[in-house]
Symmetry: D3
Subunit: 161 residues, 6 copies
């Protein structure tokens, strides 16, 4: 069974992430979408919130598992018996950073391969940080995130205003 | 009347910004150079200081207005009846970020077009952050900023030393 | 009256070109879309064919003129009393080449400004050369070119097969 | 059964290609490495030569098939019941071109996904064209190509000198 | 005597830095590897620690001096009678930033030239920040840093756990 | 004695090349500027013409030699006892190609180091090919090339018209 890890901050998950996930589930027998715990960053959504938002979005897949991890990604992948890491490839800045991470992970464990997939071009310039920024300013992000995330952003906004 | 918005942090305004502005005023009937208020960043110059520095530099133009805004740029542009956003294009990192912002703004309001202008190549690698850094270290930034900004940087330096 | 030149090979004109043109006509009082005669290249379509294809696509605009030129672009622009050149900005390779040409044209005539517009992201990776290639291989290019070009490509293909 | 196509000119196949192939065979049940016939280019090696060179290098794999094709890649993939295209990702110029091709292929057939793999960083700047160039000048390419290709390049050189 | 400055944060020094240094010592009569004091950043290693780590790594060179500086790099270079700055060139993001710094330094002192050297490609994607990150997560960085740094990272890790 | 090779097509030599040369002569004891003979390309100027144009431009330097070569650059460098290759670094496309060549040359001879220098930013987008193109169209290239090249281009133009 070919298992892949799709790691990220997912703060929050966007339509671009879901587009990559949809491509990955066709390629692998099982995809584990997993939240990187990063104690040094102050996220907009807690790990639990991010996790339930992802879960609300991936119910239609039978071969997707939602999880979170800390420590080294390659060690986590090994405990999950995964042999591939899935990453989306968009703009240039992405490209450099993604290749750096992929090379480092390969150095740390040569048996785990990073597989790059390309999102629909309409998500080329979409990322979680710009979604958070627009939502904070009261802009309409309904074209960028799935419905559960949209509602969570609106609840968050009401509370802070 | 064709109105364009030239948004930025302008902390402080540099010769590169003024070079872009000079090109924009020929292209549009009116250009509003406007300071993005960003409460999360600690600027070197207050909004008021940045505004008076810009005003001191744009007096020679009859079709330039100085302003500031918070919230979404496209909403601000609408209230100003502007149909274009002006941005300078320099190095690669710029390019990616600028295209991302332009695509996002287009998603938020399809009637507002981002127009990219190219500064003189002598400003290719100039930005406000490197000016602040050099000024802090006591370096000579007279070739990078207009006179009022140079004086303001010198005053700031005297106060902190 | 603000006149802009939109120069290119247009061999053939694509939906990406038309997307840029549509943005340019809102920005300028008149846009001259003009075919660069390049005797050293063997085009798929003759200058006359390219011209009638463009004409068939721009009939809905009242402020668009179709033309062709040889010699230096800036000299041509001067004879047309144009003060702006319009260029689309897509991928990175584009970016470098376009900036090089824009800087050269500015050196040759400092009064003519290049204005960069960004096509819809669905045309990010579209250009005439890939359209010709796919058409030659019998692929469906109906999503990439306007109807008159599609028909011209089909006629061309019948003749050569 | 998950079948992938690994297309290319392979004129000649290099250690970089073989590195990508080795990663692909672990990911898919079957990999078809296939030579794009391109009548407009004058290759160094004929299609037959390129094919036997590839065959000599992939004997150790039980799930690799060697083939060639003309026409549209996505149509070829369909006839082979392949759902993935494999491409190596190296430098920036690659990146842009590869994404363009992948987006075009997706437009032509949305069911076929391009999967990008990263070669060992020691092959980052290796391609067939630089191998041909160095071989022509009599340089030592033994670190860049597998043994059968090395011998073929030496035979070619003897004949032309 | 041709003296070069090799400036950096070196927090900590990596095999990639040492690779560049080794190339620089062949090119110049004397190389001063110098730590930029940056009070605004919280480093992993103190200036003193970074300095002794570098010293432990460069003992084999007779023409290398270890130092630190604050203020403007070009002024520091002048006091050292250096006419060259040495910088490593790796990925794209590097490239842009390095050219910006080099142009700024040239503006500040036209007599000091920045010389770019290319590390071994196996260090293409290596930097101090990724080393710190992997070390913090308990990963094996023995392939990325010299022995004294490896031991210092292990001591640091023991103390914080 | 530190000898460097500055190789290129120099068809023709431009102000950008001369800018790099001027920086190189300060760095090395001797610089050999050398024309790569490339039988497969049809140059605008013959090897002899290119050589005399370079010679006319470098008379003021006492440590510059003009030469030409065919075969492998690293072998040529060895016969000249050179340990460095000098290359100018400008735009991104440059960067990729230059690093590829430098890595290849390093593979072919690990003792020869490529040293990258940055031209004045006013030459950022200048190359021989754009100079030839503008000269052919009758444009003014006096800002891009030294006087002897300007005159040679004018003579060439008279002959062909």
């Amino acid at each position: 069974m070919k298992i892949a890890i799709y790691p990220g901050s997912f703060d929050p998950i966007t339509n671009g992430h879901l587009d990559i996930l949809e491509r990955a589930v066709k390629l692998f027998d099982k995809v584990i979408i997993t939240i990187a715990k990063n104690p040094s960053k102050a996220p907009m959504f807690t790990e639990e919130e991010r996790r339930s938002l992802i879960e609300a979005c991936v119910r239609k897949y039978t071969n997707v598992e939602v999880d979170s991890f800390d420590g080294l990604l390659v060690e986590y992948a090994r405990t999950k018996r995964a042999t591939s890491l899935v990453r989306g490839l968009r703009a240039i800045s992405d490209f450099e950073y993604e290749l750096q991470m992929a090379l480092m992970n390969r150095k740390l464990d040569g048996n785990i391969e990073t597989v790059f997939l390309m999102p629909n071009e309409k998500y080329t310039y979409l990322n979680s940080s710009i979604v958070r920024e627009i939502a904070r300013l009261g802009g309409d992000v309904s074209g960028f995130v799935p419905k559960p995330v949209l509602q969570a952003l609106q609840r968050k906004r009401k509370r802070t205003s």
